[in-house]
Amino acid sequence: MVNMITSILNFGRIKTKLSPPLLITGLMFFAALIFLFLNSPEFFLLKNIVNIFNQCAVLAILSLGMSTVMIGGGIDLSLPANMALSAIFGSTIMILTGSVALGCLIMLISGVAIGSLNGFAIARLRMIPFVVTLATMTICGGISVWVTNSVSIFNQPEKFFDIFLARVLGLPLSIYILILCLIMTQIAMSFTRFGWMVYAVGTSPAVCRVSRIPVKQVLFSTYVLAGFLAGVSAIVVTARLGSASANIGNDSVILDIVTACVIGGVSIYGGKGRPFGACVGAVLVVILGNILNLLEISFFIGLMLKGFLIIFFVSLDGLLVKQNE
């Protein structure tokens, strides 16, 4: 039966030039859109589409960061916790000094710092990415709750919200930020030395070492970049929610990020996928969430569905890798 599935997928691959995981994602997307068209055509109003993108901006930016790390062969479970803690730090500074610029800068610096901690432990100390970022996630979560005493910070300066909730040409600023991040990350991965090295390291660190690629630096940089993007998303999420709290880094966010990357064609094993795909995955995750809402399916079943998707796509990936050998 496995053979039947793979031959169907191979057929699809040859016809559409898309790899099997992307094929399935494409089909899901298509099916989702058709469903929405039939059941709630108001979905396709411009206003609503803009809203969808706004909703998924944060998830998409985080997924961009995660995709970079995954392409290099690693994983970073601490991104949501990073975002939450950075939001808290930045908001606190913003409130204390009244300076929006400083607060935003702190958010970015905090994101980079936490990313560097991960990168250092993984690249230099050679620790296991999964466990290290799990530990970082717990630490950041713990600090977040401790520092805020589980109370949200919501008295950021008005100016902050004025800036980041503004609309330019009818589109919220968050979408521009997302597009900017997407363009920069995708360009970095597709057209820079750094990006090509990340793909190579994710494919085979041994070949890279022989080719004199600085594997450690490359890996370190992926975690720093992901941390930076977590800082960016801290800014966007604080503006959107109107507050910063430990809860913005809760469990379901990491689930969404991994789902988005995995269905977006980014391989957990490294070397495959594109940041753009992760973005598309994020959009699809949000759309699926909306559909589940429409169908009044509980949030928890949604979690189960996402878990199932992750396992499905990762095993599919593993199957195909084995087939190609």
Partner: protein
């Protein structure tokens, strides 16, 4: 070379010494901390985490990780509580809870052994899926357990609690399984090197599968103890428990790389350490979430220590 060796040995004793120091520290602040009553109280409170860590220890010695154990606890107790509310008897709901734990463990085993998904990703997926399932079943509401439960959960003969005894029994059983049966030896062998184990002809797939089933069952027992102590099943059951279990195992000297460690002493040392920290912090009136932070820091330190240990050979290449 001498420095390496002494450093290695020092690291071995680091955590037990740490436990002693922390205990003494708390005792200085609050003398009754080291009273017999308090100590047995701590043993009682740590029963849930100790049981779950026992399952985690087995998995880690095998060189793998299972971060879905807390969620398994939730689903098992969610099912059990629902059944109890519908009028099922105590025994049947408990047995069913155990079966649910075994089944969910089997799901993990299936994904890892048959679908060949990396255990880290697999249990990340199942952790979130099972939590969703558990919350779905309980509707994220608090399900109050019948009175008898709370009584049972806190039942004690003198100062020795019922769940402490069960916990110890389970710990000894699993320890014996690990040390004295063929199954346990295969677990250690896999933790050494899975490829070599296969090459020698050991029943690797079967052993991995059943280890996850056992861990699932132990998770549901842990969930039972946790809910019984409180008298209710909440959606917070098991949340973060798996991370603490990893930290417990690591502090107990069981290497994340597999193949090493004693389940009995490791789990006792680890869970005692974390319980001392938790109740000590409680006494001091510190924020309960500080505890979560400690768990993360501990994992970090332990991994760093492990990295140093193996690092001397790794850093040369």
């Amino acid at each position: 070379m001498n420095l390496d060796f002494t450093l290695n040995r020092a690291l071995d004793f680091a955590f037990p010494i740490f436990l002693v120091l922390v205990s003494l520290g708390f005792a200085l602040v609050e003398p009754s901390f080291l009273s017999l009553e308090n100590i047995f109280g701590m043993l009682h409170a740590m029963a849930p985490i100790a049981v779950i860590s026992t399952g985690m220890a087995l998995i880690v010695i095998m060189g793998k990780l299972d971060i879905s154990l807390g969620s398994i606890a939730l689903v098992s107790m969610g099912v059990s509580a629902t059944l109890l509310q519908s009028g099922y008897g105590f025994i049947s709901s408990s047995v069913i809870a155990l079966l649910v734990g075994a089944t969910l463990g089997a799901v993990n085993g299936f994904i890892i052994c048959i679908l060949k998904v990396n255990p880290l990703i697999a249990t990340l997926g199942t952790m979130l899926t099972f939590r969703g399932l558990g919350n779905q079943i309980t509707d994220a509401q608090v399900v109050v357990l019948p009175d008898g439960f709370r009584a049972l959960g806190n039942f004690s003969l003198g100062i020795i609690y019922f769940d402490t005894v069960i916990c110890l029994v389970l710990l000894i059983l699993v320890h014996a399984l690990h040390r004295r049966t063929k199954f346990g030896k295969v677990v250690t062998a896999i933790g050494n090197d899975e490829t070599t184990a296969e090459r020698v002809g050991l029943p690797v797939t079967r052993t991995i599968f059943f280890s996850f089933v056992i861990a699932g069952m132990l998770a549901s027992i842990g969930g039972f103890f946790a809910s019984a102590q409180v008298g209710a099943v909440t959606s917070f059951l098991g949340k973060g428990l798996e991370f603490t279990a990893v930290a417990v195992v690591v502090v107990g000297g069981i290497s994340l790389f597999g193949g090493r460690g004693s389940i009995l002493w490791g789990v006792i040392l680890g869970s005692l350490t974390f319980e001392v920290i938790r109740s000590g912090l409680n006494y001091l009136g510190a924020n309960p979430y500080f505890y979560q932070l400690i768990g993360g820091v501990v994992i970090f330190i332990a991994m760093y220590a492990a990295a140093i240990k193996t690092g001397y050979s790794a850093n040369n290449s």
